[in-house]
Symmetry: C2
Subunit: 139 residues, 2 copies
């Protein structure tokens, strides 16, 4: 099994970060503008990127942690899990990100690791500067 792991420090509040991970408006501000569905536990969020994309079932959502399971999307993503953990940090908050359950360290795994990094930096910019670069603005 392989994972993608990242952490990023953000000069923002715990509440604002959680809001960015648990609302359609928040998620569409840093990952993809094509975000729909419901962010409640047990419901499904649909993320699209010009047609293709991912459906995530929300397994957990509280003030410190958000966990999704991929139920539709590319084969390599099906059944994997995406986890966000938030902790306090002297500069604001630190986000620990983990996309777990990859079967192998494939070329797509390499690609997605870099893309997750750039989207998490988009999240940081959204919270610190007011504007992220969600798809299709991700360049």
């Amino acid at each position: 099994m392989a994972s993608v792991n990242h952490s990023v420090v953000m000069s923002t509040t715990h509440d604002k970060l959680i809001n960015s991970l648990t609302t359609l408006q928040g998620l569409s501000s840093w990952w993809t503008k094509e975000t729909s569905g419901s962010t409640n536990v047990g419901d499904v969020i649909e993320f699209r990127f010009g047609g293709s994309g991912f459906d995530m079932k929300v397994l957990k959502s509280n003030e410190n942690s958000v966990l999704w399971e991929v139920i539709a999307g590319p084969d390599e993503w099906i059944g994997t899990r995406v986890n966000f953990d938030i902790r306090n940090h002297e500069k604001g908050v630190i986000l620990y990100f983990a996309h777990t359950g990859w079967e192998e360290e494939s070329e797509f795994h390499h690609h997605c690791s870099m893309k997750w990094a750039t989207f998490l930096l988009s999240l940081k910019d959204y919270l610190e500067k007011g504007a992220g670069k969600p798809y299709p603005d991700d360049g």
Copy 2:
């Protein structure tokens, strides 16, 4: 064992990318300005970041691939390996990066994965725009 894997497409030539990975001038343009030593196979490159840093023994260096082993630095890095593979791509070249041999997916592993991503984007900017953000300009 855990790894950090990334890929990034760059609008540049194969030769320019290899030069950025196999010369002190190249390496100091995107990773850290505090780069010294020798990039020949069997020799050691010293990368410093305001005092601390890493010593890398060059295990392989050819036109398609560069492989280093960490022989000094933080405990979690000792014995790990850093690999760069270059392939042609319709937009120029694609770099496959792998930092392998981590004992666990620690907090430091999360941190380093994100830092590698930002430094690889610095490498992309250096080659595409003429200026990267090597330490201490990495923000």
